[in-house]
């Protein structure tokens, strides 16, 4: 197997606050291979979005990368100057932000917003009349690609004239406009109702097959990830707590947090099974527990859990950060 498309090693992201240094991401290792769909799961504040904002150099000051290395196609991209990162954004790695309802500019038409991104990255465009025609054709193709009917008419629409699902599709079309090798979909379905969620997820899966774009699906919904991703990474309090092939991780979770996540999902198959929420609160990101971050909430916690613990490999390309797993 060739090297991974995206490789993150020991990434640490910190946000200085009045209360102290918030360690939003603390020693995350993960890789995304060409053409795969990787699910990244975790509750709010687990550091999943921040990890990928850091990849693109989009952390808001004073947030910064404190340690670690990010490599894309073998080239180190962490710490690149802004101008070089800008070249990468959209063209090599694209991201669709959490909320499609606000991530589209209300003052511009769909066409203007798609064309903008193409223009920003394609220096070979001809000048004059031909340019406009080519750009419009490409924008129409993109809308068709993401399954928007009557693309010619939709191009002239403003975001407020589109439904939530349509807007998410437009977002995806914009993200795909420069043919990135990696598409990061940050909570692509959060603001959508269930039937539209399924459509958008199916669309992403089809686009991955057709275009060969690797997709990172960032979500708090393990169900969404289970259905569409080959591999999954579970994050908790800024750390990866478990990773591996999705079927294996869901079939036989090795970290108590993953188990807790699964148990907190209602099941149609077993309507009688009680939903068991995970007790307690997310670990304090300024003063995290010294050992396993999940220890204070874990029903299986024992004294050994108070000691620092690394991600321990398990057979079958899996790993979990738990003392239960034999080192």
């Amino acid at each position: 197997m060739s090297g991974p498309l995206l490789e993150i090693r020991g990434l640490a992201v910190v946000f200085p606050t009045r209360g102290g240094l918030v360690r939003a991401v603390d020693g995350v290792d993960l890789e995304v291979f060409s053409g795969e769909c990787l699910g990244v799961v975790g509750e709010s504040g687990s550091g999943k979005s921040v990890t990928f904002l850091a990849v693109l150099g989009l952390l808001r000051p004073p947030g910064r990368i404190e340690a670690g290395e990010i490599r894309f196609e073998g080239r180190t991209i962490s710490g690149l100057p802004e101008a070089e990162l800008r070249e990468l954004r959209g063209r090599a790695i694209a991201i669709t932000l959490q909320d499609a309802l606000t991530a589209l500019n209300p003052a511009l038409t769909v066409e203007q917003q798609i064309v903008e991104t193409i223009e920003a990255h394609d220096p070979d465009l001809p000048r004059g009349r031909a340019r406009r025609r080519i750009l419009r054709e490409r924008a129409q193709e993109l809308l068709r690609l993401v399954g928007i009917p009557e693309p010619a008419r939709r191009l002239a629409a403003y975001p407020h004239e589109l439904s939530g699902g349509m807007r998410q599709r437009v977002m995806i079309a914009i993200a795909l406009s420069c043919r990135p090798k990696l598409l990061i979909a940050d909570e692509p379905t959060t603001a959508l109702d269930v039937t539209i969620q399924a459509q958008v997820l199916d669309l992403l899966a089809e686009l991955r097959e057709r275009l060969g774009t690797a997709i990172v699906l960032v979500s708090h919904d393990l169900g969404v990830v289970a259905e569409h991703c080959g591999r999954v990474v579970v994050m908790y309090a800024g750390q990866v707590v478990e990773r591996g092939p999705t079927a294996a991780v869901i079939g036989e979770p090795r970290h108590p947090y993953t188990r807790g996540l699964l148990r907190s999902i209602p099941s149609i198959a077993e309507p009688e099974r009680p939903i068991r929420p995970i007790p307690g609160q997310m670990a304090d990101p300024i003063r995290p527990p010294p050992g396993c971050r999940f220890e204070p909430r874990c029903s299986l916690a024992r004294p050994a859990c108070r000691l620092p613990i690394a991600l321990r490999p398990i057979d079958g390309g899996r790993a979990a950060r738990c003392v239960e797993v034999a080192a």
């Binding site: 693109l56 989009l58 800008r86 070249e87 990468l88 954004r89 959209g90 063209r91 694209a94 991201i95 669709t96 932000l97 959490q98 909320d99 606000t102 991530a103 589209l104 500019n105 209300p106 003052a107 511009l108 038409t109 903008e116 991104t117 920003a120 990255h121 490409r138 193709e141 993109l142 068709r144 690609l145 993401v146 399954g147 928007i148 009917p149 009557e150 008419r153 939709r154 002239a156 629409a157 403003y158 004239e161 439904s163 699902g165 349509m166 599709r169 977002m171 914009i174 993200a175 795909l176 406009s177 420069c178 043919r179 539209i196 459509q199 669309l203 089809e206 686009l207 057709r210 275009l211």
Partner: protein, 307 residues
């Protein structure tokens, strides 16, 4: 790799409910504006004055510079001694007041439009830069703005005019030098709000440069408030120009300006009230019309006023 490589409609699927026919928010706003009678009337008056200024030589019944001492202080047509040849009467040199008011509109409109337009461009540019780049640029621009805001407007303009000498270009310069500050503050505040929006983040995530974000993403979103403020400010500029001309620091005689006409007529207020009053009425009507028109525009274009 290009988007052309993708097969047409390969992934097309039935989508959610079709959206309403595409119509720009602007068209809807325009219809709302036309329903506001005060605004329509005011805009009509402003446009009429603009047309009067533009076509002054064809509209004015007489040469505004032609003096005839035999008609000195001739009253308007509705008073005893008036005649239809000079409907609004004549001034102390026997010049036709109507013609001078028509030509005076040129000065008011030219200066009003020029100052507002130039100030809006400068103010918006600096406001965008300050609001988006923050840091040192913001501090620097902020200090200049605060300093200029500390001066009373008229004193500032009088001082500059006294230093530079009268003349149309100098009036514009003197007024622009302070006027941009207000647009700048509005543009900066609006930019501060807009730069935190998700769509700006999204544009950045897709590799847009700061210039592209400022002009392509933020500018369209801050344009309405900036334009509304600019139209409001035009009324003030018209008054300021009239004030400067009244004080003799504005446009120089014999070029007719409403302000200098009021100044000239002041001496005869008791015997021939029309000489000073009629240009004053012209100022009043234009300024009121601009204010009401911009209020109408604001009601329509400022989303914050919509419930």
């Amino acid at each position: 790799m290009r988007a052309e490589a993708v097969e047409e409609g390969a992934l097309a699927r039935p989508a959610e409910a079709p959206a309403a026919p595409a119509r720009s928010p602007f068209a809807a706003d325009l219809r709302e504006l036309l329903a506001n009678r005060t605004a329509v009337l005011s805009i009509a008056i402003v446009l009429a004055v603009a047309a009067m200024a533009l076509f002054a030589p064809w509209i004015a019944p007489h040469d505004p510079y032609e003096a005839n001492l035999l008609r000195r202080l001739q009253p308007p047509v509705w008073l005893e001694g008036g005649e239809w040849a000079h409907p609004l009467g004549c001034d102390q040199l026997g010049r036709d007041i109507l013609s001078r008011i028509v030509f005076g509109a040129r000065v008011s409109m030219t200066i009003g439009l020029l100052v507002v337009a130039i100030a809006a461009v400068i103010g918006t540019t600096l406001g965008l830069l300050a609001g988006y780049l923050r840091g040192f640029v913001d501090v620097l621009i902020g200090r200049i703005v605060d300093t200029l805001l500390g001066f009373p407007y008229l004193i500032f303009a009088i001082g500059l005019m006294a230093a530079m000498g009268p003349g149309l270009a100098n009036i514009v310069l003197a007024l622009v030098l302070k006027e941009w500050v207000l647009t700048c503050r509005v543009a900066r505040a609006e930019t501060l709000a807009a730069r935190e929006m998700d769509y700006v983040e999204a544009a950045r995530a897709l590799g847009a440069s700061p210039a592209r974000i400022m002009l392509g993403e933020i500018l369209p979103n801050i344009l309405s408030p900036v334009l509304v403020v600019a139209t409001f400010r035009m009324a003030t500029i018209v008054i300021l120009e009239a004030s400067l001309s009244f004080l003799g620091l504005g446009v120089q005689p014999p070029v007719p300006s409403w302000g200098s006409m009021v100044a000239d007529g002041r001496a005869f207020l008791l015997d021939a009230w029309w000489v000073a009053t009629l240009p004053g009425v012209a100022i009043f009507v234009l300024v009121l019309a601009i204010n009401l028109a911009s209020q109408g525009l604001r009601d329509v274009f400022d989303p914050r006023l919509k419930a």
